[in-house]
Subunit: 307 residues, 2 copies
């Protein structure tokens, strides 16, 4: 009912990073694309199967050194229900390989509808005698604009099933400040949202001091990262924006506590497309992903004190 399971994997692998699996068909090497070409040309199903194969080979190469993956729902929905099936299969395969899975869906709604999202992504649905997990991720990113009504159904499932959520607090994009930096009685909205995370999580704090309610805080805003780390002592951070979006490793220091915990840093495209950047044989794409993951781990851990 906290993020202990994830934190233990971070300690075990000595690696506070997560690989974002946000695949587009264009990222899949051609030899692998061709293997799934349907007789009747390309279809959403063929694309989705090629993408699963791509994900699987990357997971195989990184599962011993990376604690978690973060599939982004948008890239799977882009291939319709076949893509969504690939999301399901990716989640299950990564868990089978011992990884923790954070579905990045930024879901949000109220009451019974939020319950349906919570059930879909973290829970199980009862169908006659059967109890089935539709997606079965370990954690889900959510948007807190609707307030407590939108979070309560998630907390219930987090407690019952040892799951977690990450609430958008300060996002990594350029225009995130349009709303998030505006002041309410002198306090920026992102800090108000952060305070809500502390409150939502208060009775789910685990043995490392972090609750089941984390916050998404972008690597592109190092000052806010450090400020929020101080302000939100029980809120674990999911940090996008490292690398591709311009956030450097040194700026991430402030996201971590004195034990090198309290944050997990995401990288997506730099890992998935490492083979393109390296210019290596496309058949080595998964090995290139592994090399990038190691480079990233060493880069980030050189600034923190993870025991």
């Amino acid at each position: 009912m906290s993020f202990d399971r994830l934190i233990e994997k971070i300690i075990e692998t000595k690696n506070p990073t997560v690989v974002g699996l946000d695949p587009r068909l264009e990222y899949v090497p051609e030899y692998l694309q061709k293997r799934y070409l349907d007789d009747d040309g390309w279809s959403l199903k063929a694309a989705s199967r090629a993408i699963f194969s791509f994900n699987k080979l990357i997971i195989d190469e990184i599962c011993d050194i990376v604690p978690a993956i973060k599939p982004q729902a948008a890239y799977y929905e882009m291939y319709g229900h076949h893509g969504v099936k690939t999301l399901e299969r990716t989640i299950r395969y990564a868990q089978l390989k011992g990884m923790y899975v954070i579905t990045d869906g930024k879901r949000n709604d109220i009451g019974a509808t939020m319950e349906a999202y919570a059930t879909a992504h973290l829970g199980s649905v009862k169908i006659g005698e059967n109890e089935i997990e539709p997606f079965g991720a370990d954690a889900l990113t959510v948007n807190g604009y609707l307030g407590t009504d939108g979070i309560d159904p998630l907390l219930k499932i987090c407690k019952e099933r040892d799951k977690g959520i990450y609430v958008l607090v300060k996002t990594s994009n350029k225009s995130s400040g349009e709303l998030q930096d505006k002041l309410i009685d002198g306090t920026p909205i992102y800090a108000v949202m952060g305070d809500m995370c502390e409150k939502w999580g208060e009775d789910t704090i685990g043995k490392y001091g972090y609750s089941a309610v984390g916050a998404v805080v972008g690597a592109t805003y190092p000052q806010q990262l450090a400020e929020l780390r101080q302000r939100l002592p029980h809120t674990m951070f999911l940090v996008p924006g490292y690398g591709a979006q311009g956030g450097g490793a040194e700026g991430l220091k402030g996201a971590f506590d004195d034990n090198g915990l309290g944050a997990i840093v995401n990288s997506s495209r730099a890992v998935m497309c490492a083979y393109q950047k390296e210019g290596c044989d496309e058949r080595d794409f998964a090995k290139a992903a592994r090399r990038e993951v190691i480079r990233m781990r060493d880069d980030i851990t050189s600034y923190i004190n993870l025991k």
Copy 2:
């Protein structure tokens, strides 16, 4: 590139309402559930097929008198990728029957990821030589917490393909005020978000005066509805919370302009489960839905001046 297509259907049917198709298996009458029972007991696939059949029969009964449906993505995701397939089929079937479809997904993200959502729900994806619409809805609800970066990719598709979006402004739930009512320099956040909708929509205004960027404003807050109608003259409202959530028809008056346009009011459970409330034969569920839709239309139009 505005909401003209929807507004024309509203005028044609003289009915500014939309039916939320947010089905749970429990809503499906038993006789219909049984028809889809798999040999190996209930599965996500069987449940999803039963739900599609339920949706289809309701659509058949209401398509001549209701301009639009609003399927809520959460209830389809709850049945995994099979449920998502039912979402696809429901969208296509309703469009085939001449209805406008608003997918209620409250999606949100930035840059390339938001582009993927926009492509998934409103656009088309290129796979080899093929250009395929994964979901192909007419409009999508979205959450604007991330600012302009999260909206721009949608605007592009709205313009290219004559689609629309509804941005969460003031939601219908009890705790919506926790964040949305907080003041920024004396202006509540929901009004700031509303102003952003006006701005995002400014170059997509159609012949009825409304842009392609609408706002979600709950029926449960009649004062804010009326205030926002004045403040946001080019922003069409999608109004949830009528009936079940406690918003009455009289309170909705303020959501409409002098021509009875500018808003569309949603009802979900009261329509889907009308047969339970009526206590009629469950085989008449779709006819009961039609009766409820007519009741709702007459209730709401008695307060407005729709020509």
